[in-house]
């Protein structure tokens, strides 16, 4: 059938085919990250680092080359724990996938408290994937009751309440606070009204968020009693 086609059509066909091939190669070689169709292939001469945060899709982190001490990658999509407008986006994509040249790296994960999670001696080999675990977990604080607003500041302390590890704030939207795996206390205080609540929080890697409620929700019976 090809002998029927004119020469110009053949040339156009070959050009289109070559163009498509080049476009596909270009897309494949630059897609180091995660797009709607999942992660692209590993670019030539690089290895792939996956940070496994136990079900958490998004972390603030940076990566240093251990040989030079220079930062080679950083990504900080999450807002601070005390930002009043922050919320969980429900995104399905992850930023925990990085393509790096072969070498030895240190991964530093910033959490919502002063303690970072540092993963040293991460060796990346060209054309291979490397998985490392960042042992962080998350919790959620919900306030209920007439006196409590939607933006309530609170402190995250160590379990024995000797050290303030971080500040945070509840928001109207769903909000997860990311901390290293461990046991903490959350304290919400308002001295003018005499409100002071402390809750223990246990955060485990790879588990769903720990749910903390502060304040009491009014029940149906209470509402009925209040009505005249």
């Amino acid at each position: 059938m090809s002998h029927i086609l004119p020469k110009t059509a053949k040339i156009a066909g070959y050009t289109a085919f070559a163009g498509m091939t080049l476009w596909l190669i270009a897309c494949a070689s630059t897609s180091g990250g995660y797009d709607d169709y999942g992660p692209g292939p590993i670019p030539a001469g690089m290895g792939r680092l996956w940070i496994d945060a136990g079900g958490i899709n998004e972390l603030n982190f940076y990566i240093n080359d251990q040989a030079t001490g220079q930062e080679v990658h950083s990504d900080f999509p999450r807002m601070s724990g005390s930002a009043p407008g922050a919320y969980e986006t429900g995104l399905q994509n992850t930023n925990l996938l990085v393509d790096l040249p072969a070498g030895v790296y240190t991964v530093v994960v910033n959490t919502d408290i002063d303690d970072d999670v540092e993963i040293k001696d991460v060796e990346i080999v060209a054309s291979q994937e490397k998985y490392v675990s960042a042992r962080v977990g998350r919790f959620q604080v919900r306030t209920a009751g007439g006196n409590l607003g939607s933006n309530m500041p609170f402190l995250i302390m160590d379990y024995s309440m000797r050290t303030v590890l971080g500040r945070a704030m509840t928001t109207q939207g769903v909000r997860h606070f990311i901390v290293p795996e461990g046991q903490y206390k959350v304290r919400m205080e308002n001295s003018s009204t005499g409100f002071d609540q402390v809750r223990p929080v246990e955060v485990v890697y790879g588990r769903p968020p720990t749910f903390v409620q502060i304040g009491e929700e009014s029940t149906t019976d209470d509402q009925e009693q209040e009505e005249p």
Partner: protein
Amino acid sequence: MMSRYAVLSSTLFCGLMVLLTAFPVSPGWAATKTKATVIDFFGNRHELENIEILGKAAVEYYVDDIRRLVPIADVDRFRFDGERGDEERPLRVEFRDGRVETGTIVVGADATPHHESVGGGRLSSQVSGSTSLGPFLLQLGDVREIIFQHAKSSRPSVQKHLAVTLVDEEGTMYDVADLNFRETTNLVFSQGRKRRTIDMLEIAKIAFAEASSGQEQRPITVTLWSGQNVQGNVEAGRARYAGETDRMFHRRVGSAFTGKTAAGRFAIGLHNVRLVMFKPAAEASEKPGANAGADSAGFQATQSPD
């Protein structure tokens, strides 16, 4: 008679075996982990491999109510005193470099869950590892002593002695030895959302920008010994957080940099510092206090909250 393909495949197999023998493959997960002898309250000894304490590579304890996070790789021996069932027990820590510390450790933090803190799973207060008989678990509250046997390749972190000349907002100079920043030898600062940590051994100078009384973040310029300049912000607020106790507040606001002068202990808040000039490592071991004078005795930035 062997076919040509059989000869070829056997040659390839032999070649592969020779290569594997010459260059053994050692996967990352096969790295040697710490071994330890665990002695429980009844005096039983357990030889463990791949030991983990509360599932972490570092242990949290308190010395004079100050929180410490110490990597297991730095520790030679833990001795837990007190009684079984105590939530907090006295702890003696012997380091691999010969130092000894005594403090307290929380061992029963999971004993009292709150009904309004639910889900998320439970952490085990356990010492875990494996013996020749199989997996091993022991509650931390039942442990009397842990003696580590570290691999020869694992080296403990070297204790750092930092000596600096520090200039405060009034222009007074202090010669400070054993400088710490919030109980560690790392400087922590922020660059936008990013929180960065720099080992203070790498720093030659920290210059603080002009501060106003209500400023929460104070810009700094860090000059490294390599000549590189890094800019960022440190938290220098003097407002009290709701829920913060007096001790926490004064430690946070007044004791960001701590150390020793010739006249005694030294502490200063970030709102009160203008310049920190680090001495090269060789000078760091010299005696402090040349410029400080007697009036720097126990200098403390006891700025009252505005």
